[in-house]
Symmetry: D2
């Protein structure tokens, strides 16, 4: 996570002030529950809220205390005591630092997930808008980078929309994975604290209680969370690479929007580089890279070791901030993508109709030609086209042997793009529920 | 995937015979649908089933044909024609090879998922059985590898059971991700084939139609599938490492079952190595390794490139066979784990009661000692224990200043293991729905 | 590693027969050294060689024994005793299984490295041949997929040649990393065996003694080995992707060789897919995937745990066989690559000379035009070209204001490709030592 | 890279001020070379040095310009012109931004490598010091976490020293990989700039010219660099995990140094957690995670795409800063490690001499006992020891059947630790060149 690839809303989740605020809320809610149980005085819990609720925590002060105590939660509690006063001694009773740290991390991750889900919604909105705009814009479909059969640019975008619908569902599931709370003590036995405290804090923080925590919340949850982010990042890359291909000089079917002020030159009008989507390709690599350490974090020793902590201090912000930035950038790229239908048509026409050769072949056999003859007839008309010596349809029309099987109208129909577009509505309805 | 780490049922999913059988079924179901549409004669479809249903496909023959055609589906169809006869020419009409290949892969992956889910069920059964067996077997909980507070061995296992319940749910979700079928033609436009064929094949093969395929089924689905396997493998590693730690010479709280015939020596009775769980640690690394190539497979070029294919030919079997083997091995390890409650107790007692020091500290302050005094009192009795010069409880009982705050009964109670076990039922009910 | 992507020579390194042969050699050389030390009778060592040297080991028999002993080295030694007779009891004295296993693995890896180095040599030979062939074949250089400035196809290939020269050096270094031998006993202290045995075996097996082994040879060596393979595989991908781009329908500057028999259709002459290089892209993902488990293998517990073993049983063959196959395929692709200089020229000309706009701009300022004027002049001639309304050079020649600064000859010179090719010799000399 | 895990010297390499300083030097040296060639006036080059050498670049100002130009190098050059004056127009002539960016990155990476090498030297110094200190401190060697045979703590450390000697050599090689300079223009043809400029800049910046650059320096170099860092990080993890194991409550053969002020409690003297080495385990995961994106960066499109850039902006600092921090922390941990030889001895004695059972077995056969008898004799004395009913040596001495083969002195000798330590000198000499 670096400022260049950060957006403020997501970055703020990982700022110390936010963390301390969440820690405070966890402690204060726990105090409420403890007061209700009669473990601590109700007035103490009330005072914690009264003094702490509006407080701004002094990050520098807490850092300074931590340099002595070498313990972040103790440093925070020490500072909290400065704010709350003597009643602060009732805070954190029966709790262990990880109760606060792990519950806080999960609050942060669920908030991050909410932003990412909204980001995907923006990508989806852009894709849907542009898909309908180009619902029937013919373009060549390519397999292996080679022209295959016609499709529409809208269908291409609909495919990516379906993919991002899946991305959304995955993020929702990933959010649920990490939306748990643990207030269970040193090894998770609730020896020092009643399970009702956990239930109360969970409910107030929008989480559910972790069934079994062992000082820590089990890290297979976080592994699943970050793995999901890696999948979504790969989907970002998939669409980014499509744009990069479309913007190639030889293809030029679409271009990233180029802002007016931007240093792109009309002295070199061809030199508009797809730098945004190239950047997305790189960012996807990074989000993907955070998956493996998250997986390696699962196998902690016994009831916990703390090896996961340094990893999470890094990938928590790195993965969420980077993916948020990437999704937002992607939404913008799609929303403002400059599309060149004329170039799509030009590319479609580029092979002089050869993309229809398979239809011709099939039709000839259906009309009675042997496979061998059909193949020979198509071949002898295809080769000149391939050498740039004519147009496929014209040549076929002029081939008497072909014409013995196919009328002019039949040949024309085989070159009709409508044949390829007849199920666009079906596809759109599947994705968007409307066509 | 190597024979040493393979089990027949999972391995057979990836055998050529199985693959050809699935291809046949896809083709035959598609023929039925085409016949219903009137595209091909009903008798042709019937003949395909009649001749092909019971046939054993000649793998060597297909391989030989492929060496000429350099195309696996064409080689299969050629061989199928040898079996079916002239009606075979109606097979595969309007379809593209990927329709068969991708739908087949997803059938294989869903079958693999079914086995993996059953494997997890076996792990869960073993965990539940042993958890209840050791529901109240006291053992020391460890954080950072250091003794923390008591828990029970059953609670430890319950935690892993909860984790594998999550693993199960993840595998069910992963199965759904890949349970799709595509029969949509060269670039997914259904130009040559009606969508109803896809619907029919999907229904018969236990899949749902892929909303938008582009010659291929989008690979974010498979990325999610293999990422999930990586998470589950990491969970296997987590439990494997627990067993390895418990079997250490200095700990010896549990041991892998050692079969009678096995070359383990009673001349060196200590030399029983946790080789099964060490092996699981390694296998987890492998299953995890297959996640990244699956993620890299997502960004195919345009409507498809075929870079994913070689990856899937390898990780399809490798990841599923290895994880199947690992889960089955894990279930056996847990089911037959030799547990040493006496050693658990010995380790619990090892520190002469120091693991209770925090309770003493807390109680002293609750009884009116200042924090400083309480700390001093605990410390002066803890240090001799640490040096091996006595038992903590005995020393405390003999310390007049301590006794000014705490009676003999109170001190005894603070050393009572029951304090730590009082919520075992809560935890068990959360996980198993019963205690 | 699957047969489809295997070549016999590399695969044979990993066959049981090869492994047992190497085990035999290690044991027999060790026996020689032990005999020389007087630890075992000289006749025993001689007998081992006499009986074992020409023997074919019965893999099925050894497997059967292993099923009982659950120990592969013991199974082998039992079988060896069947071959050698009573003198076999002098074999393996003072040694530990890992002495044999680890030294054998390193013999296998060094042999694998030798093949990989030869593979790279073949890639280099193909690159050099084709580079010189196309030393001065002009082609457009592209940054961001967008036309930049002219270069030659030979220069492109020279760049990859330089990269594979580095790959070669890296493989040589990786080979040295793993070319070590350990015969040091249960925890590496030489308690039961003299270091001179290790020295002798090392020398005979073409290895050097491992400075400190701890039952096992330290796995940072193997991590470095597999990491290097991952880098080389990424270089394969780099060149593979170049070919894939060049073969795109819109670019078509080169094509993979298409064998006569191959099912590629002249009825669809455009439909030649770069399947070999797409395949290489996938294979590169796999070889890269084996890097992380090799890195995770480094942190074994204490003097060794055996978690690395299952990983190596898989990635040993998988990584080396796959990379060998990939390099050999790449050498063939380059050697037989069908290059289309005419299409390269056509693409170069595609933008009507706009790729020279920067030279014009620079020259105008050098001849006295202000930056603003120069830019305006270039722009007003570039835009019509970009819209397809003319050729840049022609328009510039017709622009009086431009002509006030530049003569016809000067303009022509600015469009001279020779300007871009003047240092081709320098580059070739750097790479090939000749031009 | 986060402040918590950063050290200033390494972090400063990646600060904007450092980057701009390096950019300036590259530009100024290039200007010198251009002046020597007569391309620009010598006075201009001199002025650039005169004004720029001592200048502090205004980072905020450059950032502000970049927000308009969206181009970092142009923003820098604009600011440089503000400092240098009109002569600045001669700067950067014939160069492309990547000439500056890539050469700068390699300067940064070589400086980072220098620090990392010095870090490894500190680790090596600590290991050597402690290895000699504990050269003959007996300790149990463990395979599979199970007691195997005696070794010394010094030998353990010597093994890690040998590993870090390899780490050092790898870092030196990695440094060489990235110590190259490219000043070759838009597609690497030197069209606009003479190769002598590159040679001059390379020499002045301590680099060598890149044989073939293609606007960018080929990324296989950087892949190798970051892969090497991943290997070294895994070696850090290896040693870190050793310390974590030794500090376990049940083992307690060593402990991380615990600073006086540190909040570790003598009320709970056992609760000293190996948090530094747990932290190193996590940091190793991160450095390893950066390997794959670096590998994925190799396959840029054609002469370059810019997908690598975002990756490098992140992993450049992240990998080097984190590894630097980890190595420095590791050196401190080893240097100040608290070692408990008495506990090592206690653990050695823990199994009542059973670790010597294999020696007894061997000796009995050497003295004429059949394998079966020897095994039976060892077994019947081992089992009581294993059950805690006696000491192995005592029991053997009392076993008449054993004594028929072995005298008291012979038995005593078989329990002599010296047997295991006799080659410690050999090992030390191999690693340290002295014993």
């Amino acid at each position: 996570m670096i400022p260049r690839y950060s957006r403020p809303q997501m970055a703020s989740i990982w700022e110390p002030q936010t963390r301390f605020r969440i820690w405070f809320e966890i402690e204060a809610h726990a105090a409420d529950a403890q007061a209700k149980l009669g473990v601590i005085p109700a007035e103490a819990a009330a005072k914690v809220w009264e003094k702490g609720q509006g407080a701004v925590f002094d990050v520098a002060r807490i850092d300074k205390i931590e340099r002595t105590t070498k313990h972040d939660v103790i440093a925070f509690l020490t500072h909290l005591a400065e704010i709350v006063g003597p009643e602060a001694r009732f805070v954190h009773q029966g709790m262990t630092s990880s109760d606060v740290l792990d519950t806080c991390l999960n609050v942060q991750l669920t908030r991050a997930a909410d932003i990412l889900i909204a980001d995907v919604d923006a990508v989806l909105a852009a894709l849907e808008k542009r898909a309908f705009e180009h619902r029937l814009t013919p373009t060549i479909g390519r397999s292996h980078g080679i022209h295959a059969e016609p499709t529409t640019f809208g269908v291409k975008l609909a495919g990516h929309a379906a993919a991002f619908q899946r991305a959304r569902a995955r993020l929702v599931a990933a959010r649920t994975e990490v939306a748990t709370c643990a207030i269970s003590g040193a090894v998770g036995t609730f020896a020092q604290i009643d399970p009702s405290v956990e239930a109360h804090v969970a409910e107030r923080m929008g989480l559910s209680p972790e069934p079994v925590s062992t000082q820590v919340i089990p890290r297979d949850r976080h592994a699943m969370f970050f793995a999901t982010l890696g999948v979504v990042a790969s989907q970002v890359e998939n669409l980014a690479i499509e744009v990069r291909h479309l913007q190639r000089t030889e293809v030029l079917e679409a271009e990233e929007f180029f802002s007016e002020g931007q240093k792109g030159s009309s002295a070199m009008p061809h030199k508009r580089n797809p730098v945004l989507t190239e950047n997305l390709t790189g960012l996807a690599r990074m989000v993907r890279a955070y998956v493996t350490p998250a997986l390696e974090n699962v196998a902690l020793w016994h009831e916990r070791d703390i090896s996961h902590s340094s990893v999470e201090r890094m990938i928590g912000p790195d993965a969420t901030v980077t993916l948020d930035f990437a999704l937002a950038r992607l939404a913008g790229v799609i929303d403002k993508l400059v599309v060149y239908p004329a170039n799509m048509q030009k590319n479609l026409d580029r092979l002089g109709g050869l993309v229809h050769s398979q239809r011709i072949l099939l039709k000839l056999t259906q009309k009675g030609a042997s496979r061998e003859d059909a193949y020979r007839l198509v071949q002898r008309n295809a080769m000149p086209v391939w050498r740039g010596e004519g147009d496929f349809q014209t040549l076929l029309l002029a081939d008497a042997e072909v014409r013995a099987f196919l009328s002019e109208a039949e040949i024309a129909e085989l070159f009709d793009l409508g044949f390829h577009l007849k199920h666009v509505d079906t596809i759109f309805r599947r994705v968007f529920g409307r066509a």
